[in-house]
Every structure is written in C-alpha cells, then in structure tokens.
Symmetry: D2
Subunit: 177 residues, 4 copies
C-alpha cells in the first residue's frame, strides 16, 4: 500500500509531461486528472492515518522506482500515441486488478474505500475513455509507430505484472542484504 502511494504520486508528473504533447481535445481531460490524483493521495493519507501506517520516508523498491522512471521517460522521449499507450495499460491494469480485489475483500476493511475508488463507475468511464482514444490514435498513426505502440503495450504489461509480483512477494534491491 505504501508502494502504491508512491506510484500514484508519480502518476502526476507522468500525466503532466503528456499535456504539452497532447492534442487540444485531450488537454482538458488530462488537466482534470491531476487534481483527481491529488484527491486520491489525500484518500491514501486519510486511510493510512486510520490504519496507523506512516507514508513518510518510503523507500521505493526497484520495481516501483523502475516503473515510475519508465512512465516519465516514455512521456518525454516517445511520441504522444506511444506514451498514451503506456497510460492506458497502466490505468486498465489498475482497474482490472482492483476489480479482482473487490470480489474478495470484506466491505468493512479499512482499505475498502480504495477498492471503491478504483472500481467506481467514474474510474471505469475514465478507462473506457482512454481505450476509445487509444483506438483513435492507433488508427491515425503510421504503421511503424503503431508497431511501437504494440511494443509499449506489452512492455507496460510486463512492468505491471512485476509490480503486482513485488506487492505480493516483497522485494529488496538485488545485491543488497
């Protein structure tokens, strides 16, 4: 959960770095996503207080840090359609993962408000919006760029999988005790 907090926090610079490259029709939506992410961080802090968990001085795991660097580097150095692919896969995976959690979690759990947030109709609508727009972008680009979108789709899924493995199994930096 503490690693999740870092990840949501890191989504803000990622989305911000997409905005200057975005078509004007995406700017309003991406711009609104930033205050939404800030509200989610506030939800984290509030739930952490209830659960007695501190969110200060969290050291990111390799996988978490790496995933965040991947988001940022994609936003800066890849085309908009390629970086948007990364955004879509990350959000889609979040939605799917929490939907699985929803099926198994006690509604009285201190973490239930998370489940509620990332399986909400609003979040589902956001993911569907991203999917429609991704399809439009994929139609508009040339063949070589579309292939790179596919590579990034797969790569983001691999990071996502590594992230959940880390969350499940614990992880330390290789070569450090």
């Amino acid at each position: 959960m503490r690693q999740d907090y870092l990840f949501v926090e890191a989504a803000i610079p990622f989305i911000a770095a997409l905005i200057p490259k975005a078509p004007k029709s995406h700017r309003v939506v991406l711009g609104k996503a930033i205050p939404t992410l800030e509200s989610e961080l506030e939800l984290f802090r509030e739930r952490a207080r209830v659960a007695g968990v501190t969110l200060e001085d969290i050291v990111p795991t390799l996988t978490n840090h790496a995933y965040v660097q991947f988001l940022l580097a994609s936003a800066y150095s890849r085309s908009y359609a390629e970086a948007f692919t990364v955004l879509y896969v990350a959000e889609k995976a979040y939605y799917e993962s929490w939907s699985v959690v929803r099926a198994g979690i006690d509604r009285g759990s201190v973490w239930f408000p998370f489940v509620d947030n990332w399986t909400s109709e609003a979040f589902q609508g956001w993911v569907e919006y991203l999917q429609r727009e991704l399809d439009g972008l994929a139609d508009a680009v040339g063949a070589a760029e579309r292939e790179r979108m596919g590579e990034l789709f797969e790569l983001t899924a691999k990071y996502e999988l590594a992230f959940w493995e880390m969350a499940a199994g614990g992880e330390s930096w290789p070569g450090l005790a």
Copy 2:
C-alpha cells in the same frame, strides 16, 4: 484579444511541463492552475461569442509565437527555479497590465469580465504566492543559478513588453507583406 487567447492556451503546456520538475509542495497548486486556465479559455470563448469575434484559425504573430516557444523551452531545458522565474514575471505582468486597463475601462464593456478576472483578489493572491515562492527558490539556489534567474527575469520582461507593443501596434511577420 485573439492573440491573448492563444497565449493563455499556451500557458497550459508551459505549466504542465513545470510539474515534473516542481517540488512536491508546488504540485497541488500548479496542478490546480491548469483547470483554472481552461476556465479562462471558456471565458474568452463566451465573450468572443458576445462580441461576434471568432477564435478559430488565429495565426499567431511572431512575438506571440516566440513568447510561447520561450515559455516551453524554458520549462524543458532550464532548472525549475529558472523556469519558475519566467512564470512569475509573466503572471505579474499580466496582473499589472490589467490593473492599468481597469483604471481606464468602462464597466459595461464587453471585455470587462477579463479585467475583473485578472485583477481579482484570487489572481492577486496567486501572483503574491508566486512571488513568495520565487523568493524562497532564489534563497535556496547557488549564486550562478541565481544570476541566471536574474537574466530570465529581464528576458521575460522584454518578451512581455514586446507582446504589449504588438497588441498596441499590430504586427506582421518580418519580410512578409
């Protein structure tokens, strides 16, 4: 006014490009500035409809286009404190300029809502916030970076002055009829 619309529109990618470099304490404020700018664009579109002016297909003047490129290039290639200096001077100039306009404009003018927006207490508070934070950043950096902040202060003021000269005098691209 149409050139102003382009300029406000361009402030959005500028501020977005600052966010990944910003200290966490600035992120919430800068993140909220983006939807605020979107509301200002909506105000432009609404006033333009009232005044019968179109905001489609505006060709930026050299000075306007140049100023926007300067904002973006600063956000990407300069340090945060340097790029923040550019933000401060641009916003401060906006506040001061509209304060002068306020003194001379008829309250019934179709453009009065602009004056009201950029001389409002909210906007004044934003400019004062930027000034306090700029002072803090200037205290925290080394001497060489502080000198570059000074150079960018002056340079932004020169762009701002050129922008108002253009607005007053009309302008076309040099070498074109």
Copy 3:
C-alpha cells in the same frame, strides 16, 4: 555575424534534444553533427579574431532568441518527424542563403571561409541527406502528423525570413529604445 554565432551555438542543444527521439539509423549522423557544429563555432572565433570582432556578451535580438526557442521547444514537445522538418528547413535555408552570398562575395573577404563552409559539397550532401530522410518520414507518418509537418515547414520558413530581415536591417527589442 555575431547573431549567427549565437544561432549556430544554439543548434547544438537543438540537435542533441532530437537524438533521444531519433530512429537508430539517424543517431550516428546526428551525433556527428554536434562536433561539426563545434568546429564551425571555432571557425567563427578564428575569423572574429582576424576581423577584430568580439564574440563575448552578445545580446540576442528578439528574432534570434525567438528562433532558438522555437527550435528547442519543437525538439522537446513535437514528434520526431515534426522536429526533423524544422531541422531540414533551417539547414536548407542556410545552404540556399549562403549560395546567394557566394555569388556576390569577394574571395579575399575575411568572411569567405563561411561561404565556403556552408556552400561546400559536404554541407550540400548533409542538406540532401536531410531532404531524403524527411521524405521518408513524411511517407511513414499518418495524415494528421503530415499536415503538422507542413505547418512547421511554413513556420520555420517564416522564422528564417525574419532572421535574414533582422540581419539585413538591424533590430532592437520592441518597446525598448
């Protein structure tokens, strides 16, 4: 000439900023362009010593500064094919302009080595390479991106024209004595 020095100096960060976005087949060529530009700056400094001109503390004109910001902002926020269009037009214009100068300049002029450099077969080959690659990029992208390449083609030409107008007529910053 002093403004030209600033401009050539500014081409280095522009090309550097293109490299992370470039296809691998372009990296070697763009990477070699940077030491070439450094040699050209050395030629400037050598010629300036001969002519008794100082290259210290040159203040860029609005047009020169603006053009440089446009290059940088394009490299950072536009797609590779779009930013490559800007590179091509700037280099092509350089070649064509110096070819015109060549026709009229005395071979004993202190500036003749410039003419010789930018009308050389090597430089002509570079411009032809850029043109072939630009054609390839234009074929590979989607229709919307190709249209933006066209807009940037025209915009770069407008900056280039403004640059030569400035060089011919002198220029100060608008609103400053």
Copy 4:
C-alpha cells in the same frame, strides 16, 4: 554482454538529453562522447561477430530496461547537477568493474578488447574529468540540491549493483515463466 550492448546504446540518448542543460564548458566534451559511444558499439558488433553472438532482437531484462529509463528520466526531469551525478556514478562503476575484470581475465580472451577499452587511460581520464566537474557542480549548488545529488548517487549505485547481479545471475521478468 548482449545486455551491455543495449546499455551502451542507451547511454547515447542519455548524454544527448544532458547537452541542452549543460553549461557551455561541458558541451564540447559531452558532444564528443556521443561518437565515442558509437565507436564502442562498433567494437561490440565486431567482437560479437568474432564470438559468433548475435546482437539482433535482444530483449532487455527488467533491470537493464529500468536502468535505462532511470538515466533518461533523470536527464529530462532533474537538474543538470543531479543528472550529471547519475552520469558520473554510472561511468565510475563501469571503470571500477572492468578494472576488477582486468585482474582476472586472460589477455587472449575474445572479450579482452572490452577490458582494454574501459580500463584505458583515456577512459580513466574521462572518469577523473567527470569527478572533478561533479565536485565543482556540488560546490556551486544550494544545500537542498546537493542533498538530492547525494540521493541520486546512492540510487545510481543501487541500479549499478542490480545490473551486475543480473549479469552474474541471469534474470527474467517477475511473474513471467
């Protein structure tokens, strides 16, 4: 060795992305580093042919991909002094690691030219140059930035360690068979 090839290849966009932020005194040196890296890639390809290893279609491991994203994201979103810290640690670690290898490798090994390259006087001089410049940058920045430089020093060392662990032990993406 194939993962190393990918990593050296990725150092090119990293250094290129540093150039627009670099002080002018660093530009010539960083600019020359790019063709040097291209020569190193050529050495890889030549040795690979001798050893009968293919360098086509290498899939980066998580750690390798992550390290590269970390380099790029640092170059884009961190201050120059911070990103330069990352460059220094990566190069220093390369030098130290190959010095250890040198002590144990047979001079007739097909890989000995690598050892020779990265333990050469030229490479040692480069690392020493980086160290001197890093010290100068650390002196020039404010206290908060110096602290961030320290954090990046440690983080880069952690990535470097993970990279050598991966090279030693093999690695696949977590969660994939």
